[in-house]
Symmetry: C2
Subunit: 214 residues, 2 copies
Amino acid sequence: MEFITNPDEIEKKSFEIITRQLGDQPLGDNVAVIKRVIHTTADFDYCENLVFSPDVFERTVALLQQGVNIVTDTQMARAGINKRVLEKMNGSAHCFVDSPEVAQIAKERGVTRSATAMEYAVRALSGPIIFAIGNAPTALIKLHELIERGVCMPALVIGVPVGFVNVVESKELIMTLDVPYIVAKGRKGGSNVAAAIVNAMIYEAAKRNEESEK
Amino acid sequence: MEFITNPDEIEKKSFEIITRQLGDQPLGDNVAVIKRVIHTTADFDYCENLVFSPDVFERTVALLQQGVNIVTDTQMARAGINKRVLEKMNGSAHCFVDSPEVAQIAKERGVTRSATAMEYAVRALSGPIIFAIGNAPTALIKLHELIERGVCMPALVIGVPVGFVNVVESKELIMTLDVPYIVAKGRKGGSNVAAAIVNAMIYEAAKRNEESEK
């Protein structure tokens, strides 16, 4: 059997297949995000599921071009983010869920480490933050609370936890806020989806930086 | 709004919903794997997609109970594996894709790092190996070659790469072999799916070890 083995060629060919299958749907600015999520999941449902606040793609790409902190709810989402490209633009990716301090606070309060890690991130980091939540609805619910209380104003909330309990509701909560968001409506999502959304915008930001250096 | 916040309760409730939605389908031994993959993806397609070689669940659980090496193709899959529970049973999880030696060999030969990392793992590790491939069809194609050449006989091949190029074919290749396998037929899969399959069997192995210690 003959296989394409060049990684760049594989990716190019994959995006051609996705583009062909999507057909003539008007996907606007957010097309790069939608295609990369489908590339990551092979699930065309995301063409319908993904919801974007106005101008969120352009605003986020501009922010990434200058370097920004990204906070994930899981190590898995952090592992999926292309940190090499991100760090070249002076950005960085954090996940505080395994911090001993977070574990202790969570235990004392009887809440999840994921939720506690959000509050911890707001205190630990300065400057704008992109939150990428692919797993824990409790992290999203905590972010909603922090935003409503005026404790933080994220540069972007990526709300794509997956699952059956609290998940749909936690995403709906984020969409009620006046905050930049990208949400996967319904039950679907995941750490891989969160990372794919981040990477789509990282790659666009890096491309623009390269072009402006020419 | 009222949310369940206890993580154990969330998981229990999630599995109840999945069980209810699956209904009376006879899923046999592999039900724990199927349910955990659906828990991870919220995608009931996996009820149809997942294919298991005979007795693979029982054989793998028995192996995990005694400690076994797991090799993943991505850091993301490795990040998703519950290493705390795995290591308690003297198992460990490895990913060699970022090793400088692997990068150098891959560059010299003009092949992917994912494929090279498989050969590297076979040389670096002793004892039985479970390969969990959630991303790179080239890793699966390399494993097929190594098995056919008699270079290695994995204890299990989890073949669940996702995507549009080489993916379907690479999975079909594995299913032609006389080797224990769990494969997600078709385009779907992912690092999260690979980790979920591993975790389902890790949890069963840990439960049995605990019961036998009582």
